[in-house]
């Protein structure tokens, strides 16, 4: 149906374009007046008026139609005597009703389902019909309005540009909408989670075992279950594991990245730079799932083997393997940014240092790096925020059990691993376990936001200093 409507809107718009162009031409000849814009702009004007209101309406309608129909149908089913314990059962019945309507349902049929399916068909029909009627109403109204305008010889080019400028503005608003969407979707579930689990139990608890939260519905929790849940969602082991793996990663990435950055900015000839820089940046372009595969199947077992030979017990999902590979992934983030930052240190500082007899490395260590320090710190912070938000490497190579440990040979888990583990496969909405993933997501979002904010401020301040 929507495709037919889109097709019709396109056809109408196109024909209005040609109509508007020839109509204004003939008006100008007939009445011998000078048009306020080229004839084609009158065509564009009609096209915009015909299509945009209708398309916006269609989009909004399509977004809300399924939600509204669903709530109406569940309501009617309930009125007819259907009983559902919770949201999941209601969803199940709704899916059944839909399947009956589409003729793909082969299970048991009772009178409630049959009646509801008829009601569903009725509502679908009603909604589709009113959608078509409303769209045509909108098109007719806006076309009449715009035709009147062009007959009065409006300044079509200016009007078209105002509309287009609005369109450009709306496109740039999508970034804000995405941010709002992220914040709302995270907050919405997190608030439900924190209404069951005390936020301090979450932030300072030292035990993470969400699989204990087998209760399906948060609203029907008993006191005994609550006691059980109280200390199942402790955040400390996760943040410890995440920071630990990120720390190992930074131990690898910062020295290698920083030294490569320095070498490329200060020593390398143009030729070396032109070849080595893109090759190092390949490391940032490789999908993280590839690193995860490499860490889990090659590096992890290799470390365990080496450990066995040395008489150590190394977990095959050790924090060391995950951290090392993550560090290698992050090298280019550190090296490229610090390369840029060092390059923008003014040459006069270096020349001054050489003039008093310092060697190149002394100049770098004592003049260039201190001058570039805020920028370098900013780039390291950006790398840290990459490390704690990185998912696939830790999902594949780090452990699942939340151990509080500082032994790099043991397995630890991270925030992102837990989000994936909780949400992969079938989830029950409204269970504290599922909601906890959103609480973790919110924590992660806030943490990376703060890190990025500080990093960007640092880099910006530094840039302004030497501009």
């Amino acid at each position: 149906m929507n495709f037919v409507l889109l097709f019709l809107i396109t056809i109408f718009s196109l024909s209005l374009f040609f109509y508007g162009r020839s109509k204004t031409k003939s008006i100008s000849i007939e009445k011998n007046i000078r048009l306020n814009a080229l004839p084609k702009f009158y065509g564009y004007y009609l096209v915009l008026w015909c299509s945009i209101p209708a398309l916006v309406f269609l989009l909004v309608w399509s977004l809300f139609e399924p939600v509204i129909i669903k709530s109406i149908i569940i309501e009617t089913a309930a009125n007819q005597g259907a009983i559902f314990g919770d949201k999941n059962e209601a969803n199940l019945i709704y899916e059944k009703i839909k399947a009956i309507h589409l003729g793909t349902y082969f299970g048991d049929m009772d009178s409630i389902l049959r009646e509801s399916a008829l009601a569903y068909a009725k509502f679908i029909n009603l909604f589709t019909n009113s959608k078509v009627v409303l769209i045509f109403g909108i098109i007719i109204a806006s076309v009449i309005y715009s035709l009147k305008k062009i007959k009065n010889n409006n300044k079509a080019r200016d009007d078209v540009e105002v509309i287009l400028k609005g369109l450009l503005f709306v496109s740039s608003l999508i970034a804000i909408l995405t941010t709002l969407g992220i914040i709302f979707s995270l907050l919405f579930e997190s608030i439900k989670f924190f209404s069951v689990i005390n936020i301090f139990d979450y932030l300072f608890g030292t035990n993470w075992s969400p699989q204990r939260a087998f209760v399906r519905d948060a609203s029907s929790i008993t006191a005994a279950e609550f006691e059980e849940l109280k200390d199942a969602f402790g955040f400390i082991p996760l943040i410890a594991g995440t920071s630990f793996i990120a720390f190992i990663a930074m131990l690898v990435a910062v020295p290698i990245g920083l030294f490569s950055g320095i070498y490329m900015a200060e020593y390398a000839s143009i030729k070396v730079r032109r070849i080595s820089k893109p090759i190092i940046e390949i490391l940032a372009g490789i999908p993280t799932v590839v690193y995860g595969f490499f860490a889990a199947l090659t590096v992890g077992p290799f470390f365990r083997q080496v450990g066995e030979n040395l008489g150590l017990t190394v977990s095959s999902e050790s924090a060391l393997a995950a951290g090392l590979i993550m560090g290698i992934m992050i090298i280019p983030y550190v090296s490229s940014l610090s390369d840029d930052v060092i390059n923008s240190v003014p040459q006069s500082l270096r020349d001054g240092s050489y003039a008093v007899g310092a060697t190149k490395s002394e100049t770098i260590k004592q003049v260039v790096i201190p001058a570039a320090l805020p920028g370098i710190i900013g780039s390291v912070l950006l790398a840290v925020s990459r490390a704690i938000g990185e998912t696939m490497i830790v999902v594949m190579a780090a452990g699942l059990a939340a151990n509080l440990t500082i032994n790099p040979l043991e397995s630890t888990t991270t925030i992102t691993t837990q989000i994936v583990m909780i949400l992969v496969g079938d989830q029950e909405f409204d269970s504290p376990k599922t909601q906890s993933a959103f609480a973790l997501g919110l924590t992660l979002f806030i943490a990376t936001l703060i890190l990025n904010y500080i990093a960007q401020r640092a880099v910006k301040k530094y840039r302004e200093k030497y501009d």
Partner: protein, 420 residues
């Protein structure tokens, strides 16, 4: 310490420092080589599959169809007995147990392969043909040399008797390696020898196509607005801060967004390229806007002023002059953004693309997998045969990324104007 000694020491320090820098670059480059070499050495064998050359006799008594049977009749006919009768003749087995072990050397699709041969030529009844039947995963891995045969029997998946049959096959040149058409044409499967990336390729293609259709126009329009039209005010600043932050938000957060808004609220179908494409578009949008703005900014003001001077409106100067000049940079930024989206895994796992999907999706609203998710799924499987399949999938993924990046670099170098 004399002056000379001090100078020597300082020069040694200089050399050391230089050496550290060179070593770091070398270590980073070395890692690229190790990674690529590791993946290639594991994955390249997956492009071939082991086949066992078998003589198949189409016995009229075992088939309930005649020569010249129609397509539907053949599709419905039972080829199981024909398969069993012919496969057990591949090696002179003594009893039922030995025959069972022999049958296990063939893939689960042997019956279908025989049926396909009959579909190609429906006059085969009473005739004998030689067919290359796909071998089971264990034989496949053994033949490719990925499976150690010197393990004790109880730790091996292949019995001693099966090894005897295998050696007999090798001796009689009945076993060989063919191009692995299943790897490219099939969907996912529990059997490594039948599993393919066909479904994942189509799923990735649809997802990236939807991502491109949504993200590219919005990103270009938004960057044109911010770069050319936006007044310097609080709203514009706020939009800019938002874009910069969104570009740094971990991708898994976009998965949570999609789960809550696209799946739970708007109720789009789970596990589909449609949802994947929208999620990736939201994620890629800020990453495309940033290079788009940079390439618009690189167009010198003289171009705009020239257009305005001959009477163009602001819009005409932007859309007729600035945008075409910025297009190469814009396109290359978009392609790099899409390449990142192609390799993205975490948000797709959250929207349910980890479901086991055998069928190749025929539209963006069919459940499907995607290349990186397929890598994740197979890497979790225990069978040895999936290791080479996973590595080969990574090879495909990496080659797509390399091609996309080369196109991006080419566009930039070939068409981008340098202004100074």
């Amino acid at each position: 310490m004399t002056k000379e000694e001090r100078l020597k020491k300082r020069h040694r320090a200089e050399k050391r420092f230089r050496f550290y820098g060179l070593t770091s670059i070398f270590v980073a480059l070395l890692f690229v080589v190790i990674l690529v070499q590791n993946i290639f050495s594991k994955g390249s064998s997956a492009f071939k599959k082991t086949v066992i050359t078998t003589e198949v006799f189409f016995d009229q008594e075992l088939l309930e169809i005649q020569n010249g049977a129609s397509q539907e009749e053949i599709m419905e006919a039972d080829f199981y007995d024909i398969m069993i009768e012919n496969l057990i003749k591949a090696y002179p087995a003594k009893d039922r147990d030995e025959e069972d072990e022999l049958l296990k050397l063939f893939s689960g699709d042997a019956e279908i392969e025989i049926k396909k041969a009959f579909l190609n030529d429906n006059n085969l009844i009473g005739k004998t043909i030689t067919l290359d039947l796909t071998a089971s995963d264990d034989i496949d891995q053994l033949h490719k040399g990925n499976y150690p045969r010197d393990l004790p029997e109880e730790r091996r998946r292949i019995s001693d008797f099966q090894l005897v049959i295998y050696d007999y096959f090798v001796e009689n040149k009945k076993i060989s390696k063919n191009f692995n058409n299943y790897f490219f044409n099939n969907g996912d499967s529990r059997d490594p020898e039948l599993a393919g990336i066909g479904g994942a390729l189509v799923g990735s293609f649809y997802s990236i196509l939807i991502c491109l259709l949504l993200a590219f126009p919005v990103a270009v329009l938004a960057s044109i607005y911010l770069e050319e039209f936006a007044p310097k005010n609080k709203i514009t600043d706020f939009i800019e801060i938002n874009i910069n932050n969104l570009a740094a938000v971990p991708s898994i957060v976009y998965g949570l967004l999609a789960l809550q808004i696209l799946l739970a609220t708007i109720q789009l179908p789970r596990s589909t390229p449609l949802v994947a494409g929208i999620t990736l578009a939201l994620m890629t949008l800020p990453r495309i806007i940033i290079p788009c703005r940079a390439s618009l900014k690189a167009v010198p003001p003289s171009i705009r002023e020239g257009a305005l001077a001959v009477g163009a409106s602001k819009f005409q100067s932007v859309f007729h002059h600035v945008v075409p000049l910025a297009l190469p940079g814009t396109l290359s930024g978009t392609i790099i953004g899409l390449a990142q989206a192609l390799g993205e895994t975490a948000p797709l796992i959250l929207i349910g693309m980890v479901a086991f999907v055998v069928d190749i999706p025929s539209s963006p609203v069919d459940p499907s997998s995607s290349l990186p998710v397929q890598v994740y799924l197979w890497s979790e499987s225990a069978e040895r045969g999936f290791v080479e399949k996973t590595s080969a999938t990574i090879m495909m993924l990496l080659s797509f990324l390399i091609v996309m990046n080369f196109i991006a670099v080419y566009l930039r170098q070939k068409f981008e104007k340098r202004w100074n």
